[in-house]
C-alpha cells in the first residue's frame, strides 16, 4: 500500500469513525448515569435519519441549489435529525426506563426493556415509513472540495467530520464545564450522595438521554446522507458504536470518541487490505485484543471523575 493509498483509506476510516464516535457517546453517557446498556439507542440514531428525510422531503430541495441553499438544507437536516433523535430518547426514558427505576427493577429487566424498545421502535418505523431503503434528498452536488496528498475529500465527508468535531467538542464542554455536566458526573459517581447534595436525579437522567439522543439523531442524518435511510439502519452502526464505547472504556466520553475513531479506521484498513467481507472480522479482533489486555477499555471508566 502506497502512502497516498493509506491517506485515502485513513480519510474513509475517520469519516466512519467520527460517526461511530458520536453514536458511542450516547451509549456511554447513559451507561455513566444509569449503568444501563441502552440498546434502543440504535433506533434513536435511525429516527434521526428519518427526521432528515422527512424535513427535506417537506422543503423539497431545489434541483440546482446555490451554496447558501445547500447550507440551509444541511442545517435543516441536522436540526431535524437532532430534534427527532432527542424526542425519541426523551420519550424512551420517560416511558420505558423511568417506571423501572421507580420500582427499583433488577438490571436484567432494564436490559430486556432496552432490547424490547429497540425491536418496537424499528418495527414501528418499518410500518410507518415502509420497509425499504430511502435515499436522502439531494442537498448539494457532492464534489471534491480539496485534495490532501492526492486524497479527494468530498463535501459529504467534510460535513460529517466537521459536524462530528463540533458535537464532540460541545459534549466535552457540557460534561466538564456546565452545571448539567457536574450533575451528570455526580450522578455517575454516586447517585445517592448526589441526590442528598440537591441534584435532581430524574432531571439529570432525562437530560442525559436527550443529550445522547440529539447526538445520535444528527449521526443518523449524516449516516443517511452517506448511505441511505432504512428502518433497520440502526442495527450495525449501533452495535459497532456500542463496541466502540466499550473499547474506549464505557462511561468515558473521551474514550468513546477514541474507540469510535479507532474502530472506523481499523474497519477501513481491513477492507483495503483484505476485503469488505472481512470488515467486522478485523475491527472486532482489535476489540477483543484490546479488552484482553485492558478489560476496562483504553481509557477506563471515568465519567464520575472529571473526564
Amino acid at each position: 500500500m502506497s502512502l497516498s493509498d493509506s491517506w485515502d483509506v485513513l480519510v474513509l476510516g475517520l469519516v466512519l469513525g467520527s460517526l461511530y464516535a458520536v453514536i458511542a457517546i450516547g451509549y456511554t453517557l447513559v451507561y455513566g448515569v444509569l449503568q444501563l446498556l441502552n440498546f434502543a439507542h440504535s433506533e434513536v440514531f435511525m429516527a434521526g435519519g428519518f427526521g432528515g428525510v422527512i424535513a427535506l422531503t417537506i422543503v423539497e430541495p431545489a434541483v440546482d441549489p446555490s451554496g447558501m441553499q445547500s447550507a440551509v438544507y444541511v442545517l435543516l437536516g441536522i436540526c431535524a435529525g437532532a430534534i427527532l433523535g432527542g424526542t425519541i430518547a426523551f420519550g424512551l426514558e420517560k416511558a420505558a426506563y423511568r417506571p423501572l427505576r421507580r420500582r427499583n427493577a433488577p438490571r436484567l429487566v432494564f436490559l430486556i426493556t432496552a432490547i424490547g424498545a429497540s425491536f418496537f421502535l424499528y418495527n414501528l418505523a418499518g410500518k410507518l415509513f415502509g420497509r425499504y431503503p430511502i435515499a436522502m434528498p439531494t442537498m448539494y452536488e457532492n464534489k471534491t472540495v480539496f485534495t490532501v496528498f492526492g486524497t479527494r475529500v468530498s463535501i459529504t465527508q467534510l460535513i460529517i467530520v466537521g459536524a462530528a468535531l463540533v458535537m464532540l467538542a460541545a459534549v466535552d464542554v457540557i460534561v466538564n464545564r456546565t452545571k448539567l455536566g457536574s450533575g451528570i458526573r455526580a450522578v455517575a459517581q454516586d447517585p445517592e450522595v448526589a441526590s442528598l447534595m440537591g441534584v435532581d436525579i430524574d432531571k439529570v437522567v432525562s437530560r442525559t438521554f436527550v443529550l445522547g439522543g440529539l447526538l445520535g439523531g444528527v449521526a443518523g442524518f449524516l449516516f443517511g446522507t452517506n448511505l441511505q435511510v432504512e428502518y433497520t439502519m440502526g442495527f450495525l452502526p449501533g452495535i459497532t458504536a456500542f463496541a466502540a464505547a466499550v473499547l474506549g472504556g464505557i462511561g468515558n466520553v473521551r474514550g468513546a470518541v477514541l474507540g469510535g475513531l479507532l474502530l472506523g479506521v481499523v474497519e477501513a484498513f481491513t477492507v483495503e487490505i483484505w476485503s469488505d467481507a472481512w470488515r467486522y472480522v478485523g475491527a472486532f479482533a482489535v476489540l477483543v485484543l484490546v479488552l484482553m489486555f485492558r478489560p476496562t477499555g483504553l481509557l477506563g471508566e471515568r465519567v464520575g471523575r472529571a473526564a
Binding site: D5, D8, V9, L12, V15, L16, G126, G130, R131, Y132, P133, I134, A135, T138, N142, K143, R152, S154, F223, N226, L227, Q228, E230, T232, L236, P237, T240, E267, A268, V271, E272, S275, D276, A277, R279
Partner: protein, 401 residues
C-alpha cells in the same frame, strides 16, 4: 366494529388498576384486529375452489420486486375468475418470506398447510428457494419460480421445483459476452453481494469473462455494509474498464452513488436483482448509463405483452415491473393446467402435468427439463438513460450470435 369497541369499554371501566390500564387497550386492539377484520371472500366463478400461493418478499427491503410479481399473479387469477371459462374458482394466497432465508420456512409452511393450495408461484429469490423447496417437495406441492435464478438450485434435486426462467448461467454469460463485445473493455471487476444469488451470478460471470480472454478480478461486498466508500475505492484504484455488480438494487443504489463520486467512468452492468426503477430513485443521477440484464422482457416494449401491460396499468396504476409479466404467465400456466385435469385435481397431478407440459405464455414458451430447469434461454438488456430504464434488446442479437 362499534359493537366490539363498546363491549370492551365496559370492561375497561370496571378494571382500572395500573397494569390493567395498559393491558386492556392492547388486548382489545389485538382482539379487534382478529375478530373484526374479516376480509370476506373474493367470490366469482363456481364449483370447486383452488388456491395459488405466491411466495416472495411482500415486506422487507426488496418489497418492490416482490410486489411486481404478486400483482402479476393476482391479475391472472382475477382475469381467470372473471372470464367464466372455468368451472372452478381460483383464490390467491400470499406467503411473505421477506426475501430472507429466515422467513422462508414459515412462509412455505403457511402455503403447505392450506389444503386448497395446488401450486406455488415462487419463491422469488434464490436464497429462500434453497430453504423452501425441500419442504414443498415433501408436501408434493409444485413450486414454480419465475425469478430464482441461482444455477445450483436445480442441481439439488428438489422433487417439485420448476424454474420458469433462464438461470444465472445464462445471465452471467450474457453480461460477459456483452462486455467482451465492447471494443474498449479489457479488464473487468466482478463484485458480488455475498448472497446465494449474487455469488452464483458472479461465479458464472467470472468464468465467462476469463473464457472470453478478459482480465477479471473478483471482490465481495456484503449487502449490509455501512460504507460503500471503501468498495468504490477498490474499484477505482483497480483501474478497470467495466464493473459487474451481482446483487440487488437496494445496495447498488448507494454503491453507484459512491462510484460516481469516486470518479469511476467505466461501464457498469448489473443483473435482474437491480433491474428495478427503485435503483434510479436511490442512486439518482449516478444510475445514469448503468446496464441491467434480465431474463425478463420489457412488457411495455414488446409487442406480445403490450396488451397485458395496458391491463396491468389499468389495474394497479403503474407499468408492469420486473417479472410481472413472467409471474402472470406462470399463474396462467398453473390455472390452465388445473383446468386440463378435468376435476381430478390434487397436488401430485398438478405437479406432474406442469412438469411434463408445455405452455405458450406471453413472454416465452414454458417447458422444463427433467431436473426442473427451464428449457429456453434468452437474456435482455436494459440501460438507464436520462433517469429512465430503457429497453435495449436481446443480448444475443446485440452481440451478434
Amino acid at each position: 366494529m362499534p359493537t366490539c369497541l363498546g363491549s370492551f369499554q365496559g370492561v375497561y371501566q370496571v378494571l382500572n388498576k395500573s397494569i390493567v390500564r395498559l393491558a386492556i387497550p392492547v388486548a382489545a386492539g389485538a382482539l379487534l384486529l382478529t375478530a373484526c377484520s374479516d376480509d370476506g371472500d373474493g367470490g366469482g366463478g363456481g364449483g370447486d375452489t383452488y388456491k395459488i400461493a405466491y411466495q416472495g418478499p411482500l415486506s422487507g427491503q426488496n418489497v418492490a420486486l416482490g410486489e411486481n410479481m404478486e400483482n402479476g399473479v393476482q391479475l391472472a387469477i382475477k382475469e381467470a375468475n372473471e372470464s367464466g371459462e372455468y368451472d372452478f374458482t381460483i383464490e390467491y394466497k400470499p406467503a411473505d418470506d421477506q426475501g430472507a432465508e429466515g422467513q422462508s420456512t414459515s412462509a412455505a409452511q403457511s402455503a403447505i398447510d392450506d389444503p386448497d393450495v395446488m401450486a406455488v408461484v415462487g419463491p422469488a429469490f434464490s436464497g429462500p428457494t434453497f430453504v423452501a423447496a425441500p419442504l414443498y417437495g415433501q408436501a408434493g406441492l409444485a413450486v414454480v419460480s419465475a425469478s430464482a435464478t441461482n444455477p445450483t438450485i436445480t442441481e439439488e434435486g428438489f422433487p417439485t421445483f420448476l424454474r420458469a426462467v433462464p438461470n444465472d448461467n445464462a445471465q452471467g454469460s450474457a453480461m460477459a459476452r456483452f462486455l467482451a463485445s465492447q471494443d474498449d473493455v479489457e479488464s473487468v471487476m466482478v463484485i458480488d453481494d455475498v448472497t446465494p444469488y449474487g455469488e452464483g451470478l458472479a461465479d458464472v460471470a467470472m468464468e465467462e469473462l476469463e473464457a472470453a480472454g478478459l482480465q477479471a478480478q473478483r471482490e465481495s461486498v456484503p449487502a449490509d455494509t455501512v460504507d460503500y466508500g471503501s468498495a468504490a475505492r477498490t474499484v477505482t484504484s483497480a483501474n478497470v474498464d467495466a464493473l459487474i455488480y451481482a446483487g440487488y438494487y437496494e445496495a447498488l443504489g448507494p454503491f453507484a452513488t459512491r462510484l460516481a463520486e469516486a470518479g469511476f467512468e467505466g461501464i457498469g452492468i448489473s443483473g435482474d436483482g437491480s433491474n428495478d426503477d427503485e435503483f434510479i430513485n436511490l442512486a439518482g443521477g449516478a444510475s445514469e448509463g448503468w446496464y441491467l440484464t434480465c431474463p425478463c422482457t420489457d412488457a411495455s416494449a414488446e409487442e406480445a405483452t403490450q396488451d397485458f401491460a395496458d391491463r396491468y396499468q389499468e389495474e394497479y396504476g403503474e407499468a408492469p415491473g420486473t417479472y410481472s409479466a413472467e409471474s402472470y404467465d406462470v399463474a396462467n400456466m398453473i390455472i390452465q393446467t388445473i383446468a386440463g385435469l378435468d376435476g381430478d385435481v390434487n397436488r401430485q397431478a398438478v405437479y406432474e402435468a406442469l412438469a411434463s407440459g408445455e405452455y405458450e405464455g406471453l413472454t416465452k414458451t414454458f417447458s422444463f427439463t427433467d431436473t426442473g430447469e427451464f428449457e429456453n434461454e434468452g437474456i435482455f438488456l436494459y440501460q438507464v438513460e436520462e433517469g429512465v430504464r430503457g429497453y435495449v434488446g436481446n443480448v444475443d442479437e446485440l452481440v451478434g450470435g
